[in-house]
Symmetry: D2
Subunit: 293 residues, 4 copies
């Protein structure tokens, strides 16, 4: 991310006109959302700005909500082909590969766009920044069977997600977020002490090693969070837990070819202002994880 | 694996002398184990042969058990350095990297071997075929604190694991094993239908794609087991579950950067004559797995 | 349940007039739902009847949906006090204790009813048959903060749930449902064989023992489903798993006062035409369950 | 527990003769264990005393260990019938119902005792204070198939458990233990805030309510531990989680008869000097728990 982005605090304290100008495109072609959200400020972080804008949309009239949905382009539609999208939409559709569809894929999109609009009266909307063509087509085919009431809420939720990701592109989040881990040994009912793990960031099919730890006597990382503040960014991450070595060192019965050995765990960080606790509960024959707190 | 290995059935029906000759090295330098196990035959599969041999060891006298343990070489010890190991031991130690230790590592091994023998009266034994230097050193440092009673049982268990892996090297397992999967959606309490997944085999830092499926309405693989019979071999495997696409198609609330998207799951198959059921229970914010049946 | 209720099949094959007459009250004061659903028949079970009626509502116009919601009485409202509810509503509200509110509770309900109607334009609706006053008040206070779009969908979902429970009161379900169990030992990675368990039905603070089993070698109940056909009814059930005895018999390390000993597991059956698989995954220090298939 | 028991600290600082006299019966008829353990003191809590005594046993010679095992009476054996047990053993066997066996049960015990002694050369030992006849018979029949090496370790582990429970009978634990909870919503990936729960103590088929809480915004108990210090005692406890109300208030999709409603969770506290974290991870269709830290 560029280093000259304004901080969340700076953004949250802009005067109304600038606030609206900066955030007017967060909700596609709908500057009224930023204008109305301004009244709930000033804001100390991006999370609160996003919440205020989402609240404006949620409490808008049915007509306003439909207008907002209709301000969005078709995915891989005529506007995209003609180069008539907003800059943000163009980037997002390209990232998901929608600018390089085969002819057959283009036909499928065109057919689905048409059917969808005919049924619902607004375009199919999905946050595509982290999606693939497959994700999008699957969602298209799943959601087209919804009732209008359900699908309108789906689209509004997607619009909020798109807004959040655009917001992260225009300002630096407040440095409040952090990532923690905890490893429990469910075979013995105790913290898994002395278990080695690494953290990597995954992007564009590459893996960048960020750190390596050995858990302390409480099964946690010595030295506090694995990531925090500016190093804690939205993206996809991977813990690698060297569980097989732990089992061997602690005499837990395992087979010669261990059922669980190195356990990779992929997870995504959406809001870098939040605390993400991503623990591992494991025995030699089972494991689980969850977003904790 | 070589195609001219005898089948489990052929091995299990050998006359006594040949049986003992073929399996005499399964338990290091201790042909008496195979000789005594023969009496429980004939055997239809490798699992039963292994059980019979393990039972011989378990019911042997304390002196016999200690003799068996003492028939094993030190890890990275003098015999290894001098090239005086059995062929099987040589291969196993090399696979774990014990033939290329640094000087410092060699010193650590020598010190631990000496301390361990002084405390327990037998050499440190660990099944190393799927282990690394780190695994072995960690186990060494963990187990040296055990009581003699505990540690003797540890070594006997390791000897059984080594025997099993050697057995897989001398015969083809009975084609009774298979691998199944089942995916449950714990956010909605139903099978995860229409979820795409792949299976790969992992070896030597490479990944070989073995198959791709989309789950049926019961959350299972259409067409039965993912692997069975001769294609089902000991080794390390990986399911890749495309959970993010499933959540998007089914309108489960997820963040723009999904917390869980593609879920990789590594697992080991130790006994190719067994059924391995390796399911996934998942919501957008948690997942678990276990060896099922 | 009365034994002279019609079977699902008989109900599903009634001529239109009788079908509508019998099911006209399933959706409160809205016989048009049954009339329109009839066209999707004939039906072999209650699940399909319920789905057909729910589909009619889901695809109805906004006006029809609002009319349906407005056909419902306030909870603990004037109509209830005046004895002017439908028979079904009267019974349902009484079962949840709404006919015996304290004066303070009545005031709270009146205030919430008024605020809710003022915000949404329709009455607060919740399936109360298995709810308590506390459930209802908690839901009232939680849902009143929703947006109209979200809350309308909430009410429509509740109306479908009420309809299902009323349907179970007018016909016998098809005898296709059954209950199964499976117990996995996650400390050892194998089925929990030889584990004793019981099943009870819970109602009105009483517990009725329905059966007792010891798991077979695959960790399942010998003899097939625990309940099936007519004995499998909607309601609340409880497995009691005697896990402590299993751990002791299998030498799993547990403390003198075991962390887990007898594990009770309460679960509800909503649709007696379905398969409910309610397994237990447990080690001496952890357990989990889920609705499986 | 009697209020005039000495504190852990007082016990841990006794002079050697008194220490041995007070703790001489903790290991059945084997005052040498207490005498040798004394040297590792002084002790600040019962956990350290227990560890010191267990370490003495673990490092004792094979002969001493066998003598210790043989200092134990048969369960329901001649000594018990003749009233010749130590006071502690008499109480323990009575609590498990071994003083009121039917004639058939007595015959089974006699047969198993005889077979077991013939195979292993020492009596069957099991910590019976929290066991039933069924627990004991199941363990007897399971463990009699073990090898001698395994079974000797089993008995030594049981002896340590018996010692711990006897120790809790002669002194008040240090007030360092406490009980915490945490509830995570795995359907939404957040703490379960506003979820009501109660804690009860279970004894002799009665349930004593100890407290009631509503979780705070982090899904934890407001006000800190549920139990701590002197109120935190060994025994069996039960959380009741009112999950159904939480799901209803938070619009999580549940069936009319919820699959999960009130979730009871039984757990045992063995060491009142420890921290027990007993969390709940739940969605409307799954839950899990574990001993955490």
């Amino acid at each position: 991310m560029a280093h000259d982005l304004p901080t969340a605090a700076a953004l949250g304290h802009l005067p109304k006109e600038e606030f609206a100008k900066t955030l007017g495109g967060i909700y596609e072609n709908s500057i009224w959302v930023a204008e109305a959200a301004f009244e709930a400020g000033p804001f100390g972080n991006l999370t609160d700005i996003a919440k205020a804008m989402a609240a404006v949309v949620a409490s808008a009239s049915d007509e306003q909500q439909l207008a907002l949905l209709n301000a969005h382009p078709d995915l891989a539609g005529k506007a995209a082909v003609a180069g008539a999208l907003t800059v943000a939409s163009t980037e997002e559709q390209a990232k998901a590969g929608l600018d390089s569809l085969t002819e057959a894929e283009m036909e499928t999109f065109t057919r689905l766009n048409t059917e969808y609009r005919a049924k619902f009266g607004f375009p199919f909307i999905i946050a595509v920044r982290n999606a693939t063509k497959r994700t999008i087509l699957g969602a298209f085919e799943g959601r087209i069977n919804n009732s209008i009431g359900v699908e309108k809420l789906q689209c509004l939720a997607q619009v909020d997600k798109i807004a959040w990701m655009r917001l992260l592109n225009v300002a630096k989040p407040a440095p409040t977020g952090f990532l923690t881990c905890h490893i429990l040994d469910t075979a013995r009912g105790c913290p898994a002490a002395g278990l080695r793990l690494t953290l990597s960031r995954l992007h564009d099919n590459r893996s960048e090693l960020l750190g390596e730890w050995v858990t302390n006597s409480d099964g946690r990382l010595p030295g506090g969070p694995a990531l925090k503040g500016e190093t804690f960014q939205a993206g996809t991450y991977c813990w690698n837990f060297y569980a097989g070595d732990y089992f061997a060192a602690n005499c837990l019965p395992i087979s010669g070819q261990p059922f669980l050995d190195m356990i990779p765990l992929h997870f995504g960080i959406d809001n870098p202002e939040d605390h993400y606790h991503v623990p591992l509960l494991c025995s030699p024959w089972s494991f689980s994880t969850y977003r904790g707190s």
